[in-house]
Amino acid sequence: MNTKLDQFRSKLTPSKVKIDQTLLDQADAYLNGREFPTRRDEFWKYTRLTKISNLEVNVNASIIQSVPEEAIINPNAQKIVFENGVYRKDLSDDIHQVSGIEFKEKGNSNFKFQEDVFYALNYKYSTDAITIDIESKTILKDPIHLIMISTGQGSVSMPRIAINAAKFSESEFIVSTHDVNSQNCLSNVVIEADVHENAKLTINKIQNEKSSNFSVFNERVDQALNSCFTINTLTLNGSWIRNNVRINVKGQNAETHLMGAYVTNENQHLDNHTLIDHLAPNCQSNELYKGVLDGKSTGVFNGKVFVRKDAQKINAFQSNGNVLLSDDATINSKPELEIYADDVKCSHGSTTGQLDEDAVYYLRTRGLSEKSARHLLVAAFIGDVLEKIEDEHVVKYAENALSKRYGWSF
C-alpha cells in the first residue's frame, strides 16, 4: 500500500539537476515506503504535515517579468532570483562579474546525506541547484541576495544552495521569500554552508510571504577553526513555516550567532528548530529568539545545544522570549541543553508572557494612547533582536514591513 508520502511524491517531478548518484540512492532508500513524520515524532510534535501531504501540486510556467519592489532589501546587493525554485538568470545580476566569487549554475556536489524527509525530498526532486564559492581572503563589500518568489497555484519549489566560504573570506547573504499571485505553494529550501578556517559568514533570512503558502527551510552549516557564522531569521509574515537550522561547530575557537525574530497573527504557524552541535573545544555560541504572537497563531521554538565530550571550555548561551498578545495565541518553547563535557559554561532560558501592564499605564500617563503604548512596547521587544543585526538595510526592511502591517514604530 502506498504511504501518504508516496502519494505526495507521485505528484512531484524528479530532479533534472545534476546530483551525486550515491546521494540520490540514499534519498530514494530513505523515502521509499516511509510515511510523513507525525506529531508522535518528537521533532514534529507541534507541527502537522497533513496540509502538505494533501497539497494539489501544479507545475506552473514562470510569470514574473521583473523583481518585485518589495523583494529589494539592500539596494547594493547582488541579486540571484528564483521563481518557484528555478533560477531566473534573466532577472538576476551577473554574479560572474564580481571578483572573488565563483558561481556555478545547475548543480552542486559537495552534499552529505541528511536523514530527514525534507532533505531527502529536496535531493530527489530539486527544482534547481547552485553553488557559490567565496574565494579565500575575499571580503565582499555588498551582500549576495537570494530572492525566492512563489507564484501560481500549488507550485513546489525545491532549490538547493551550496555556499563555500573559503579561508579568511568575509561575506553576507540575504535570503528572502516573497509571493506574487500565489496560493498553496510549497517551498522546501536546502542551504548548505561550509565556513572554512578564519572565514566569516552571515546569513540574513527574511520570510515575508503574504499568502497561504508553506515553507520549509533547511540550513546545514559546518564551521571550521576560528570561523564565525551568524544566521538571523526574521519571520515577518507567512502562513505556515518550519525552519530547521543545524550548525556543526567542528573547529576550535569558532563563534556562532543565531538570532530570530518572529511576529505572527491570525492562523499563522511558525516552527523554529535550531541545533548547535559543539564538537570542538573553546567555542562560543549565542542564540536569541524573540517572538510576538497575536490572533490564533501558533509558534514553536525548539533550540537544542549539544556539547560533545571533547568540547571543553564551551560558552553557550541561549534565550527565547515570547509575548502573547491574545488569549488564543500559543507558543511551545523548548530550550534543550545536552552537555557531555565537564568544563563548560552554558545557560538557557525561556520566557512567555504578556506585555507589562505597568509599562502600558506609565506610557499612558505621559499622553500616549493605549494603542501607541502597546505598539511601542512590542516594537521594543522585537527591536532587541533587530538591533543586533549589522546590515542596516535588513533592519530597515524588517521595521518597515512591521510598521506597515501592524502600525508599530521603531
Binding site: Y361, T365, L368, A379, A380
Partner: protein, 255 residues
Amino acid sequence: MKTLINIKDLHASINGKEILKGLNLEVKPGEIHAVMGPNGAGKSTLASVLAGREEYEITEGTVDFDGKDLLELSTEDRAREGLFLAFQYPVEIPGVSNVNFLRTALNEIREYNGQEQISAKDFMALVREKSTLVELDSKLASRSVNEGFSGGEKKRNEIFQMAMLQPKLAILDETDSGLDIDALRIVANGVNKLKTPENGAIVITHYQRLLDYIVPDFVHVLYDGKIVKSGSKELALELEEKGYDWIKEELEKAH
C-alpha cells in the same frame, strides 16, 4: 479666581476596601500644595486615582480639572489635558528610548489639542534645554526608559519628562523617597524652575525635608482617607517635630 483642580468628597476603593473617604482639595494656578501624612493614609492612592489608574473604583465625589470632569477622562486624556504624575516608583521599560516615547507623547498631546506636530529639530532643541534644566545627562535622555538608572536618575528622569510635557498640574508622588541630598536638591530645583503663575503642583511626601527645597503655599495632612488639617508651610515643620500622633489625638478629642 479659577481653580486648576477641585476635588470634592472623593471616595475611592480598591478590591472593595475604601481608601479615600471623602477627600477635598482645591489647587489654584500658581500654587504648590503639599500633602503629607502617615503611611497608609491614602497619599499614593490619591495620586493614582487622579492619574487614572484603573484598579481603583471611584464610589463618590467629583474632580473638576480646569473645567473638565477629570474622572470621565481616560488616563492618556488626563495627560493630554495637562495632568502629570511623577511616579514614586518609575517603571523601567527596556528597549523604549526616553526621547522616542516622549516625541510620540508630545505629538499625541499636540494632536489632541489641535496643534501641529513638533519638528525633529525643535524636539531635539527642547530635549537639550530641558535635560540641562534637571541636570540629566543627555546620554540618559536617549537611553531606554529608566533601565539601569539609579534611584536618583529615575526621579530626575520623571522631572525631565514633566519639563518636556509642561503640564498644568504636576503631582509628585513621594519624589523625595530614596533620594540623597544632592539628588533631592536637583529634583527640587527642576520643579521650582518649572513653576509659573499658570501651573500648579501637588507634592505628596512623607517627610518635611523636601519642603525645604520646594516651598509649598499650603500644607495638608491626609489621614485615614481625608484631609484632616490644612495650614501654611509652618504646619510641615510642626509635623516634622511632633510626628503625626498629635493629629490623631486631636482628631480623637474632637469626636
